[in-house]
């Protein structure tokens, strides 16, 4: 279980959001960069589901896109099964590419509307040259069966299916190259609540059957709780906490994680006093100095405004907060 399948070290991505050259010269402005993710490091072990959570704009999707090669990292390194991923080298990447896949957020955009379902699912098979002729048709039928659709559906077009069915097709496509690792970018956020659980359960069944490893990107903590073994919490492009899923929900270490958990509605009506997430995520072009979370943090101290906290090992992972350092103090309980 402890074999690392995917290792991310110091992953950073800056976007150039400068105005055009002429505007910059006239308005005497410098180039502007938006740091979407900064120095993100984590390991994903074989067979586990690692979840990345965070608000919109926290850099979750940017990390996912860098891992599958849709975006080039500005700095840092991604290792898949010990091998450095270099998307510029086509030949070396071909063998690696077959081993990871991606499931997208919007099943209405992720399937080409002009292609038949069978062709959509077979695309990775053809691209990697895995099977030929009638074997492809048989494999597509088997995959459709696997995700709870029928082999006859291969003849239809995507518009003949509902959102949940389309996401099943997208999953079948992701499985067709027999990958070991699947990046799931908000796989259920575009679906009806009633369908979400079906898709998540399908993903879990497939994980058990094929020993898949998932990177799950989500802002929905109930989805994350249902699916993941470990969780990384992102804030403004930085990992503030990594923890085992169970521990995170019981004993969050970082104040931001605590705020996130407090914002989850629970049907039990526990009567617990909540601290709502106040304020908004700051402008990532000019992030606050020190700890990026300090303008919204209820426990803010002087040191938080000056010095960025390093990741400190915790009982079940790591967290980056001055409250956990000797300089800080043990956090006060916020629950009444």
């Amino acid at each position: 279980m402890s074999d690392v399948l995917l290792s991310v070290q110091g992953l950073t991505r800056r976007f150039d959001v400068s105005k055009p050259w002429l505007n910059r010269v006239i308005e005497r402005e410098d180039r502007q960069y938006l740091t979407a993710t900064a120095d993100v490091s984590f390991d994903i072990r074989k067979g586990e589901t690692f979840a990345l959570v965070g608000e919109s704009g926290s850099g979750k999707s940017t990390i996912a896109k860098m891992i599958v090669g849709l975006l080039e990292p500005s700095a840092g390194e991604i290792r898949f099964d010990g091998k450095v991923m270099d998307f510029a080298s086509g030949a070396a990447m071909r063998a690696l590419r077959r081993r990871f896949q991606m499931i997208f957020q919007d099943p209405f955009a992720s399937l080409n509307p002009r292609w038949r379902v069978g062709d959509i699912i077979a695309e990775p098979i053809h691209t990697f040259g895995l099977l030929k002729g009638a074997e492809v048709t048989r494999e597509v039928g088997r995959l459709l069966d696997l995700v709870g659709l029928s082999a006859a559906d291969a003849e239809k077009f995507p518009h003949e299916f509902s959102g949940g069915q389309r996401q099943r097709i997208a999953i079948a496509r992701a499985l067709s190259s027999r990958p070991e690792f699947i990046v799931c970018d908000e796989p259920t956020s575009a679906l009806d609540v009633s369908v979400q659980a079906q898709i998540l359960n399908l993903m879990r069944d497939l994980q058990d059957e094929f020993g898949l490893t998932y990177l799950l990107i989500s802002h929905d903590l109930s989805v994350v709780r249902h699916m993941s073994t470990r969780i990384g919490v992102l804030y403004l492009g930085r990992l503030v906490e990594i923890s085992d899923a169970k521990r995170l929900f019981i004993d969050p270490q970082h104040p931001y994680t605590r705020l996130l958990l407090d914002a989850v509605p629970d049907l039990a009506l526990s009567g617990r006093r909540r601290t709502p997430v106040t304020g908004e995520i700051p402008n990532p072009i000019a992030p606050p100095p020190g700890c990026a979370f300090h303008p919204r943090c209820p426990h803010v101290m002087d040191i938080c405004r000056k010095q960025r906290p390093d990741a400190i090992p915790t009982a079940s992972g790591q967290a980056a907060c001055h409250l956990l350092t000797p300089e800080g103090q043990k956090p006060r309980e916020t629950t009444a």
């Binding site: 896109k65 599958v68 090669g69 849709l70 086509g90 990447m93 071909r94 590419r97 077959r98 990871f100 896949q101 991606m102 997208f104 957020q105 919007d106 955009a109 992720s110 399937l111 080409n112 509307p113 002009r114 695309e123 990775p124 691209t127 990697f128 006859a152 003849e155 239809k156 003949e160 997208a170 496509r173 190259s177």
Partner: protein, 313 residues
Amino acid sequence: MADFTPGNRPNALARAWDSDIAWSFRHSPLAVIAAFVSILIILAAVFAPWIAPHDPFNPASLDLMDGFTPPMEPNAFTGNVYWLGTDNQGRDVFSTILYGARISLFVGFMAVLFAMVLGITLGLIAGYRGGWLDSLLMRVADVQLTFPSILLALLIFGVARGFIPPAYREAMAIWVLIVAIGLSDWVQYARVVRGATMVEKNKEYVQAARVIGAHPAKILIRHILPNVMGPVLVIATIGLALAIIAEATLSFLGVGVPSTQPSLGTLIRIGQGFLFSGEWWILLFPSITLLALALSVNLLGDWLRDALNPRLR
């Protein structure tokens, strides 16, 4: 759900009849009439050698005595009757119109095809690649748009003739014309395709293909191209009418196809010389044909544009 099982699937023809486009077509009388007129002229042009009562390009079959015969009247010398009369050389106007429409349509179709292939290719590349290549291509397009396209076609025509040895000029004239009209027309295809490509390339189905490492050319041709063809077909239909008119204009100005192979524009140019001497039919009938052809193709294009635009439904 029963309708979707393979056994119950209606055949392709029945599905086409039931499609939105077909429905919209059946409920638009103007489109039906325009399609009828276009198809009639196109069929008449294609089958001209079998339909035309005379061969206007065979000097042996011409009799100068037949010249200037008015429509539906027997010739004063030979007694021959021609539906639409004859021109100065005794050529049957009806036959020359059939053959003329043939050349006009051929030039129109080929010019549109040329402009389409060029515009779509450059538009796809510019939209998908972006960056300096996109800027360069679009600035070229902007500059080209500042010239009236007929002026540009004249320019290209003139330059091309300078390169071609005189012996081949006659034979190459029609191809030079096609390239000239096509080159002056590619910009609108490139612009539309570029815009649509920029939208499509960010959609997740393209990203899914990129994740598995599909070749960019394959992504462009198999994924993006089918999804940007809708607006292109609309422009191509209207573009056909414009190309036919452009060809007629160039031929009217005397720089188009040679008069041994007269197109509708050439016929109109020849005919206008006789307008003031009273032989009105030599000018009128080719003009009416050109008008009917351009108008009906244009109306078809307008209908197609509305039918493919979901916001106007």
